[in-house]
């Protein structure tokens, strides 16, 4: 994901590879869990009149996921810009 883990150097050890894979897994599951929780708060009606997801809710959910990804990409780009401009974390 995000092109991580694509840069393979032949010299890295087994433990390093495993912990990188683990970190990637943690990131993806963390992202998924927060997506589930946040889109639930934003889209699902809390009166629970029915156990099915309504049409309006499913439309909201689909857009919620798409927008979450778009936000993710944009924040990434913004942070990259900040990093390059050198005003971030005291880098020159």
């Amino acid at each position: 994901m995000f092109g991580l883990g694509g840069t393979s150097q032949p010299s890295i050890s087994s433990a390093q590879k495993l912990s990188a894979a683990e970190a990637e897994l943690d990131m993806v599951t963390g992202m998924f869990n927060s997506l589930v929780s946040q889109c639930h708060s934003k889209c699902i009606n809390k009166s629970y009149n029915e156990s099915d997801i309504t049409k309006a809710e499913s439309l909201c959910l689909d857009r919620c996921v798409a927008k979450y990804f778009e936000t993710n990409v944009q924040v990434g780009e913004n942070m990259q810009k900040l990093g390059q401009s050198g005003q971030f974390m005291g880098r020159r």
């Binding site: 994901m1 995000f2 590879k17 495993l18 599951t29 998924f32 997506l35 889109c39 099915d52 990804f69």
Partner: protein, 87 residues
């Protein structure tokens, strides 16, 4: 992730299974907390009222449907992102 050898893949599989167990416990306790928060507000009795109990049933069923749908969209968006990254 694809460059792990067989032994590393086995080790990784174990890590994945441990995390899945943890994840399931987390899901469970989150669902309890969410449905309790949304459905149980009347403390004039020791037991859940039939209304509360019906609400909890719907709340949990709906949440599972919800996370299934979000999971599908997540995979689609993820695949899209990977595709764009390769160009």
């Amino acid at each position: 992730m694809d460059q792990l050898n067989v032994k590393e893949q086995q080790e990784f599989q174990q890590i994945v299974e441990q995390k899945q167990m943890k994840d399931f416990m987390n899901l469970y306790s989150n669902l309890v907390s969410r449905c309790f928060d949304d459905c149980v507000n009347d403390f004039t009795s020791n037991n859940l009222t039939s209304k509360e109990s019906a609400c909890i049933a719907k709340c949990s069923e709906k949440f599972l449907k919800h996370s299934e749908r979000v999971g599908q969209r997540f995979q689609e968006q993820n695949a899209l992102l990977m595709q764009q990254g390769q160009r």
